[in-house]
Symmetry: C2
Subunit: 255 residues, 2 copies
C-alpha cells in the first residue's frame, strides 16, 4: 500500500489550470482518497513533504476546498469535488465576464485606423482562430467568393455557409469529392490534384485558398497533427498573386 500513486500525478494535472499549485492538487486528491486524514497521513499518501503539507492545507482552507477539525492532531475533510470545482470555476468565470466587458469596452473605444489591415499580411495560428476568421470572412462576402479547399474537417460547415450566402454572390468552388446538390449560381469543379502538387498529399495534409470580393484573401495550410497556419491579407499584391493562382489552378484543372 501507500504507493506513490502514479495516476495521481495525471489526475492532479488539470487542477493546475484552475489555479492550484502542484502540491495543492496532490494534497487535495490525496484527501479525497482519505477523508478525515491527518497531516502526516496526507504526507505519506501524496508524497508531499510533511512540512509542506501544513502551509498547503492552509492555502486550501483559504480557498475553501477543505475544512479543518479542532482536534489534536488536526484532521482534514475535503469539500466534495463537484462543489469544489464549481467554486473555482465560478471565481474564474466571474473574472472572465468582468474581463470580457472591460476589454470589449476598451476594444470598442479604441479608434482603429481602417488602414491597419491594409497592405499587411497576417499570420493566424490556431484552428479555432482560423475557423472563426474564415467564416467571418465568408459571411462578409458581397459579390463573389472563389474558394479552393482540400480538407475534410470543415467541409460541412463550409458548404452550409456558402449556401447561405445572398443570391447576389457568385460562388466558385474547387475541391475534391463533392456530392451536395447546389443552386445554379454556385459553380463547383471537382478534381483530385496529383500527389506531386503537394496539396492534400497523403493522410492529413490539407490546404485551401479563399478570395472574397476580389479584395480579401485567406490561405490555409497544415496538417491535423502539426496544426494549421493561415495567412490573411487585403494587400493588392497578395490578392493578385492568389487570384492568379486561382485562375491557373482553375484552368489547369479543367484539362
Amino acid at each position: 500500500m501507500a504507493e506513490p500513486v502514479p495516476s495521481g500525478g495525471s489526475i492532479a494535472e488539470p487542477l493546475k489550470s484552475l489555479g492550484l499549485t502542484k502540491y495543492e492538487a496532490l494534497v487535495y486528491v490525496a484527501l479525497l482518497k482519505a477523508s478525515g486524514a491527518t497531516a502526516t497521513e496526507l504526507h505519506e499518501l501524496s508524497g508531499v513533504p510533511r512540512a509542506s503539507v501544513y502551509p498547503v492545507l492552509e492555502r486550501l482552507s483559504q480557498k475553501h476546498l477543505v475544512s479543518v477539525s479542532n482536534t489534536s492532531p488536526k484532521r482534514f475533510n475535503p469539500v466534495k469535488p463537484d462543489d469544489a470545482i464549481d467554486l473555482l470555476m465560478r471565481s474564474i468565470e466571474s473574472d472572465a465576464t468582468r474581463a470580457k466587458t472591460e476589454l470589449s469596452r476598451v476594444y470598442a473605444q479604441a479608434e482603429r485606423p481602417a488602414r491597419g489591415d491594409q497592405e499587411l499580411i497576417w499570420s493566424i495560428h490556431g484552428d479555432d482562430q482560423i475557423r472563426s476568421r474564415l467564416f467571418e470572412l465568408l459571411r462578409g462576402a458581397r459579390s463573389s467568393v472563389q474558394i479552393i479547399f482540400y480538407w475534410d474537417h470543415l467541409k460541412e460547415e463550409l458548404i452550409t455557409t456558402l449556401l447561405s450566402l445572398a443570391a447576389t454572390v457568385r460562388v466558385d468552388i474547387i475541391t475534391d469529392r463533392f456530392t451536395t446538390p447546389v443552386p445554379d449560381r454556385i459553380h463547383v469543379t471537382v478534381r483530385t490534384p496529383p500527389e506531386s502538387h503537394g496539396i492534400a498529399t497523403g493522410k492529413c495534409m490539407a490546404g485551401g485558398v479563399v478570395i472574397v470580393d476580389g479584395k480579401q484573401a485567406m490561405v490555409v495550410m497544415g496538417s491535423k497533427e502539426e496544426g494549421f497556419t493561415a495567412l490573411y491579407s487585403e494587400a493588392s499584391g497578395f490578392i493578385r498573386f492568389f487570384t492568379m493562382y486561382w485562375n491557373f489552378f482553375s484552368s489547369w484543372i479543367r484539362t
Copy 2:
C-alpha cells in the same frame, strides 16, 4: 499621451486567473487599444520592457490571442476580446469537467470511515461552503430542527428551506424580525437580543446556531466584511453544549 495607463493594471488583473502572466495581460490590453501596433509601440503603451515584448507576443501568438504580420517591422493584431476570452474559458472548462469526473470517481471509490465525522469538530471557512453545508444539513433533517439565526443575507432562503421540510419535522426558530406566516408545526420566537449579549450587535455582525435531530450541530458567526466562520460537529459534547445553549436562550428570551 503614452501615460503608463494606471487603469491598465486593474484591467489586466482578472486576466491572470485565465492563465496569462502580468506581461501577457498588459501587452494584450495595450494591443486592444492600438490594433496593428509594432513591438515598440506596444512597449511604450504597456510599460513592458521592449526586449520582453517579443517573447510575450510569441507566447500570445501561441495561445492564439494575437495574429502577426509578415512586414518589417512586425505588426500585431489582437483577437477580439470576446473570442479570446471564450477561447481561454473553453480550455479551462474542459480541464474542469475532466477534473470533475476523475475526482468524483476517486471520491466515490474511496471508502469513507463513517466514524470520520464523529467526535470531531470541523471548521468551515467561506460563505459559499457554509451556505452549502448548512442547507445540506437542513435538508437532511428527519425529526427536529432547532435554529437561532441573527443574520439577514440568508434569511429568505433559510425560511423557504425550513418551510419545505417534511411535516414530521418539528421546527423551532428563534430570530429577530419575522413576518412570514407559518404552519402550526413551526414555532417561531421573535426577540432582538440586547447589545450586551454580543450576537448581532451593530452593523454587520451575524451569527446562528442550528441543531438537527439532536445529532448534528452547526454554529456560524462572523461579519460581512471579515467573512464568516462556522463550526460543525456530531460530537456528543458539542451537541450537548449547544442544546443547553439553545434551551437557555429559549427560556431566557421568553421572559
